[in-house]
């Protein structure tokens, strides 16, 4: 092993935010070095400095022992530094293959593109990753998880010596994560140095050699992954010990039914789905990528039409044809794709938190009660520990995890009777996760009916009073809370009545 990268005393400020305070970091060949820290700790910023997106205000960067300056992403590439950005940055109107090779298209004479080679090369990368995707698929139609796969494929295509992965697994489920780890191990063996960022604590142990922790933009320390217990890393991150409670399943036999979904179908995506949800219940939805959980949630929420079936809210059959009607009926839906479906990125934190509840905070002529909204926003910023210079900060300037918290705050403020959370903790740090679990439990205890869709099985297990499992658009079973992981996986792969490997 030899030293690939060394960052010394890196400093970076944004208006109102001192994002990096003299941070040190180094990377050896053939190692996986995890970068940990709470939301807004500065991880992404540090990596953007290394990959030529931001220029640091101070400090120096050495690659192979040579001091370098990295003014552009191109310069980073030339130094062999590749990155998977946390915020997916794909060109939605281009195909998967076109996205992957942007800027490095195989060419024929006269600037012509070698589209055949482009697609073949892409197919080869996908084969190496063990995923099935037509290289000619337009990116616009892909789910967040599939987009994440494309980003990973793109990063791999660079054959970089230094590969930065900023929360590559935030949208992936266990099977896909396992696949990614296989790839990472292969790269490691080839001598590639990998910087790995994730909020999924179990992954850290599984994949990393060393762990560097940041807090509030400052370097806290670097430890060897193997000999350091997770709890130690967490306390380095948050500056205190965290205690996690196990799920307690309440007795809901007497509780009123809040939501009934009866034989709901749509095209190939949803096939005769029926289930019911009681007040005070948390129903978890498990399944593999593309199982149709998001589709189901959107159908219930009226974001997408249904072909047949019925939805009853508090016993009354309702025809919900738009999200506005759903919200009026007391249903809220937090999308898995915060950037496209959750946030007005150019608007401030306060406006985003208030987005679904403006009607409650205005007078008869539509004048907004800003003072009340400011109070509410500050309240949620504190409650969810949203790291932001203030409630007037544009959401786009927040770190990914903090953006996610803003979306959560929006739905908490709206105070719906039935809440559907699709991947609510995507990109959220451990401490905040625990806080959100606590909040969800509180909401349930207060009589809300809650659906949680999550690709993280531990999360589903940790939260759910019952667990619904989907596969290929069908609801393959509902298990009691605390069910066996094996049983869930069995249902998640149960195609057309038969169980696949």
């Amino acid at each position: 092993m030899s030293e690939l990268v060394r960052m010394e005393g890196i400093d970076k400020s944004f208006p109102g935010v001192h994002a990096l305070k003299a941070v040190d970091f180094d990377l050896q060949t053939g190692e996986v070095h995890s970068l940990m820290g709470e939301n807004g700790a500065g991880k992404s910023t540090l990596m953007k400095v290394l990959s030529g997106v931001y220029r640091p205000d101070g400090g120096r960067i050495l690659v192979d022992g040579q001091e370098v300056s990295i003014p552009t992403p191109r310069a980073a590439q030339d130094l062999g530094i590749g990155i998977i950005h946390q915020e997916l940055a794909l060109m939605r109107d281009l195909t998967v293959a076109q996205n992957i090779w942007i800027g490095r298209e195989p060419r024929l004479s006269f600037g012509r593109l070698d589209e055949a080679k482009l697609n073949a090369d892409t197919a080869a990368i996908f084969a190496g990753m063990n995923i099935h995707m037509d290289p000619r698929t337009p990116v616009a139609g892909l789910t967040i998880a599939r987009q994440q796969m494309v980003e990973i494929a793109k990063a791999l295509s660079y054959r970089s010596r230094v590969l930065i992965m900023d929360e590559p697994t935030a949208a992936l489920n266990d099977a896909e994560i396992a696949e990614l780890f296989t790839i990472i191990r292969r790269l490691k063996a080839e001598g590639v140095g990998i910087i790995y960022i994730s909020h999924k604590m179990d992954e850290i142990k599984r994949i990393s050699d060393r762990v560097t922790v940041m807090r509030d933009g400052a370097y806290v320390g670097t430890v060897a992954a193997e000999e350091t217990p997770i709890s130690r890393i967490i306390s380095m991150m948050v500056g205190r010990e965290l205690t996690d409670e196990a799920v307690t399943i309440p007795d809901l036999s007497g509780a009123e039914t809040a939501l009934e979904v009866i034989d709901v179908s749509r095209g190939r995506e949803l096939k005769e789905i029926s289930f019911s949800l009681r007040k005070g219940e948390i129903l978890g939805f498990a399944g593999l990528m593309g199982a149709g959980r998001t589709e189901l949630a959107r159908a219930i929420f009226g974001a997408e039409p249904i072909d047949s079936g019925e939805i009853r809210v508090h016993g009354k059959p309702l025809r919900i044809t738009s999200p506005a009607e759903a919200v009026r009926a007391g249903i809220g839906y937090l999308s898995e794709d915060r950037k496209h479906y959750g946030l007005a990125l150019g608007m401030d934190v306060r406006a985003n938190i208030a987005m679904a509840s403006l009607r409650r905070h205005c007078d008869a002529i539509g004048r907004i009660d800003e003072a009340a909204l400011a109070r509410v926003a500050k309240d949620y910023i504190q409650k969810l520990a949203i790291r932001t210079p203030g409630d007037r900060q544009e959401v786009r300037l927040l770190s990914g995890g903090n953006q996610q918290k803003v979306v959560i705050a929006k739905w908490l403020l709206r105070d719906c009777d039935i809440l559907i959370f699709d991947e609510p903790t995507r990109g959220i740090d451990v401490g905040a996760k625990a806080e959100i679990y606590r909040l969800l439990n509180e909401l349930a205890a207060a009589g809300k009916a809650i659906i949680v869709i999550s690709s993280e099985l531990p999360e589903v297990l940790r939260l759910s009073h019952r667990i619904a499992v989907m596969c290929e658009g069908r609801l393959t079973g509902i298990l009691p809370g605390g069910a066996e992981q094996e049983r869930i996986m069995e249902l998640a792969t149960q195609r057309n009545g038969k169980t696949a490997a």
Binding site: P15, G16, V17, F301, A303, S322, P323, A324, A326, V327, R328, G332, Y333, S335, H340, Y341, G342, L343, A344, L345, G346, M347, A351, A354, M355, A356, L358, R359, C362, I365, G366, R367, I368, E370, P389, G390, R392, Q393, K410, R414
Partner: protein, 325 residues
Amino acid sequence: MSEKASLRGSAQQKILAFASLIVLLIGFSLASPNFFQVSNIMAILQATSVNGVLAVGVTMIIITGGIDLSIGTLMTFCAVMTGVVLTWAGMPLPFGVLAAIGTGAFCGFVSGGLVARMKIPPFIATLGMMLVLKGLSLIVTGTKPIYFNDTPGFTLIAQGSLIGQFVPAFPVPNGVLVLFIVAGVTSWILSRTVLGRYTFALGSNEEAVRLSGVNTNFWKIAIYTLSGAICGIGGLLIASRLNSAQPALGLGYELEAIAAVVIGGTSLAGGRGTILGTLIGALIMSVLTNGLRVLSVAPEWQTVVTGAIIIIAVYADQMRRREAK
């Protein structure tokens, strides 16, 4: 502290936005003694009033990420309907005012419906409306102007000066007063009300707003309707200025108004913009036009210089903004 800093930054920006305008004013004043005189300043303001009102209206639509190409011919159609009500039907003045605003609101409502419900791209929907309204104005009038000679006081709407009655030294024409009132109210709506909030939100991320349970179609239509009503006010002003409804007028006004909006810093991509900026943009354009004329620059050179200065002004503004960060 940082919050304060960012507020300070934005206040700074607002003042800086004036800079190009001020530079122009000073430049022209030095170049010609005839420029900075009450009567000429009033002429500039008067020349801004119609374009300014249209620009204020279309600012809202542009903030939603839309565009409205029909504002010019809609303005004319509103003026024509005022003529129909006042001159042809002989009704009293207030009905004429209502006719202009009502026609504007109705046509805005139609455009809004085409965009929101029928999902026709705003460019096409309003291009279609632009042509339809252009034709309708000619058809209704029989291609002849309608004069307002029988409605005493009609020309006062734009040309009189309420302020001048109290402050004779500043005979600000009523048209300008109307512009400032419209701008003030619109600015208030944009910054203080639910309608304004959704205007920005729609331009920022329409799908996210829809998924927040907001009836986006309703609000979009409301915004186009309001903008149409403002166009109607523009129609009233131009009719009053010309003491007539000129049915062939209108084409080209949309570009001028949109230019004022964009010069004023509102992004055509939607999601951001200010009425103050639009006002400044409109003023920059009329100061330029007037100033070059007062300097007796040859007309062909006027266009060249106007083009160049627009680019420079926007560039300078952007530099300043970047520095302010």
